[in-house]
Amino acid sequence: MIYLEQIPVKPIKHKTTLNDVWRGRSGYLFILPHFALFAIFFLVPVGWGMYLSMFKYNVFSQTFIWFDNYKRILSDWLFLKSLRNTFVYTFGVVPLWLGKALLVTVLIYPFRKGIRTFFKAAFYLPHVTSTVIISMIWLWVFNPNFGLLNYFMTVLGMEPVVWLGRSLTAMPSLIVMQVIMGGGSTIVLLSAAMASIPEYYFEAATLEGAGSWAIFRKITVPLLKPTILYALVMGTIANFQTFSNIYIMTSGGPEFSTTTIAYLIYETAFKNYNLGLASAMSMVMFGILVVLGIVQFKWLGSNVEY
């Protein structure tokens, strides 16, 4: 006897025809404004960037050189170093910052609403403050001669450190700064997601004798997974493109130890006017981000409950 559910069902492939488009015209009209803006401000620039990347294009003259810009950057130690720096920065910041956001969310969750709101607002505040201002403040914190951090080091009997002046400490300093200042929006998102988890899940787990750690691992994290995935992907993209703090605090130094791809693109395009080479760098960055996004969705999104 063959049960109905045992019969393999092939999805019906239906070719979209012009008639279908016409029938769904009102729907297409609704998405048209968004799509037009998306095309103008995203698709066209990306396409134009791809086109430019095959030129020796320096705003004064343009020569078509096929893939020479790509060959050049892939053999350029500075580009490869900036690529490495970008990965170090991104994979240094994102897990710590996400971990911090998750920890803060879980810690403030048991408080009553007013206190929760206060903490959420406090952590969100740096998010609405200009990166320039934040960077200026941290420049003072890291100042080798009269900075706050070195002041405490001296009080504790330790030798002062040139935080942003040494290749070994400059990148970790920037990562620490970003972790401390970042995560506000993720805390708000995670708090909202956490509030949507039914309370009886936690009550049931507690009755069954589950401890806090088990509840966190088996209930909180799995049910927050869609939000965590979203924060992870967006955080990776944002941090991969980090620019303003590098520009203000280290200018990519010392000895290029904090030069990220975005900063190198800026220098190549707007200081050296080499738009073709900068476009090729942008395309490589774009490609890496696409791959990272796909990997994250495939790897983490496999058992996400939406």
């Binding site: 004064f60 100042n143 001669n145 040494r166 990519g252 010392p254 000895e255 290029f256 006017y273 738009l275």
Partner: protein
């Protein structure tokens, strides 16, 4: 009544564009110059908008058929703004930025100004100022200011510290000082202010990102940046290494400059001098003006009056000082009438009266006749301006090659070399070797 109102509104809306018809519009980009225009209150600090606003309005008053639209473009953002403007063909008609690019001439983007320069102009402008815009036999810059803020050109001495240490600063101003004398004096200017056994006051400070001032010491040791035909960077000669080693020793051996140079830039160095953590600063008359400006804007509690002195030199040799000049460039015009209007505006900005307004910023001008009458009512400033002009005249040189040498392509490698040397990850020789290798590699792509 309602219909009449509508007609009136429509007419009003039409009137504005109609009134603008027939007017020639000039777009003017200028970087921030906090010059006090005529009649500006003396107890206030001018903003970057005051001068361009006044100049545009005054020119429009004199030429009612011309409209001038000015845009103040920041010193750090101008390059990307200009790159985007050139790429899209929306460059301004006239421009004054921190630097200009000779590639604009090569790309045929600029108007030569030779036909508009009078014999009187040619005699009155300093040769250095005219040369700053001289490319392939033509002039492209309407000269305006002589010297920059003085970084790499001269030093500033805080005289009370010198007097406290029993040093004759007047002799330094008048006769200069050798490198050996400089070290000995610097040692006397380094002390522990609060008696806790730790040095907290230094003679001088440096920043790895403060290129001009570091380069001065290296040039003073006889180094050359590039070879004769500007095809190769040669800044790793024994002279260059000796110059850099001298700087490193000031920090590490003599202890007369604070460590942490690798993390500092020019504003850190200025800040150290302003807060009297150091006795020797850098810069020319403009930097004296910065002190007054900071006091007026509340950034500094009280004014002080440093004197301008030359950088130290090797025994028996001439020192070095960064000499430069800049002015306004006019972008290519399709319309003859508009070209005349833009040139007229450039002449207006660089005439004697308006060039003299640079006095409020304590800048020297590109006109000899104007400099003769600057600061006549202020003996102190007059003296400093004369010293500054003398230093440039006696030891002035171009630090970054000719106008067509692409310093901007290689400057980051120099900064990196300085960070490596001061951060002690490289010796002076290794740092400069690295710079030369990377600079020549970049030049080969250029």
């Amino acid at each position: 009544m309602k219909r009449l109102s509508v007609i009136f509104l429509v007419l009003l809306m039409l009137a504005v564009p109609i009134s603008a018809l027939g007017k020639t519009t000039i777009t003017w980009w200028i970087n921030p110059w906090r010059i006090a225009p005529p009649g500006f209150p003396t107890d206030q600090a001018p903003t970057e908008e005051d001068f361009p606003k006044w100049a545009a309005e005054e020119f429009m008053r004199l030429h009612p058929d011309i409209e001038v639209k000015y845009v103040v473009v920041g010193n750090t953002e101008y390059s990307q703004k200009m790159a985007a403007a050139i790429a899209t063909g929306t460059q301004p008609d006239i421009f004054k930025g921190p630097v200009w690019d000779t590639r604009w001439v090569e790309a045929g983007l600029l108007e030569p100004i030779d036909d508009y320069l009078t014999e009187e102009d040619l005699a009155d402008f300093y040769e250095l100022a005219l040369d700053a815009g001289y490319v392939d036999g033509k002039h492209y810059i309407w000269p305006w200011n002589l010297g920059t803020n003085g970084m790499g050109t001269s030093m500033l001495l805080y005289t009370p510290d010198f007097e406290k240490a029993g040093i004759d600063w007047r002799k330094i101003v008048e006769e200069g000082w050798t490198m050996e004398e400089f070290v000995e004096i610097a040692k006397k200017l380094t002390w522990d202010s609060d008696g806790d056994g730790k040095i907290d006051h230094y003679a001088i400070s440096f920043g790895a990102q403060d290129t001009h001032n570091l380069m001065n010491f290296i040039y003073a040791h006889g180094a050359k940046l590039i070879n004769e035909d500007e095809s190769k960077v040669i800044f790793n000669s024994p002279e260059a290494v000796a110059g850099l080693q001298f700087l490193l020793d000031l920090v590490e051996v003599h202890g007369v400059a604070p460590s942490g140079v690798e993390a500092m830039g020019v504003y850190d160095v200025i800040g150290n001098f302003h807060s009297h953590r150091t006795s020797i600063g850098f810069g020319g008359p403009y930097e004296i003006g910065r002190i007054t400006r900071y006091v007026k804007s509340g950034q500094l509690p009280e004014a002080f009056y440093p004197v301008i002195a030359p950088f130290p030199h090797l025994e028996g040799q001439k020192g070095a000082s960064y000499a430069s000049a800049s002015g306004f460039v006019v972008f290519k015009q399709k319309d003859d009438a508009k070209r005349e209007a833009v040139m007229e505006f450039a002449k207006f900005l660089t005439n004697r009266e308006n060039t003299a307004l640079l006095e409020s910023l304590i800048y020297l001008t590109a006109r000899k006749s104007v400099n003769e009458i600057l600061f006549q009512n202020d003996e102190y400033l007059n003296e400093q301006a004369q010293t500054f002009a003398r230093i440039m005249d006696e030891t002035g040189m171009e630090f970054f090659g000719s106008q067509s040498f692409p310093w901007s392509e290689i400057s980051k490698f120099f900064t990196s070399a300085m960070q490596g040397a001061f951060g002690k990850t490289k010796t002076a020789q290794e740092a400069l070797n690295g710079f030369v290798t990377e600079a020549n590699r970049a030049l080969s792509y250029y």
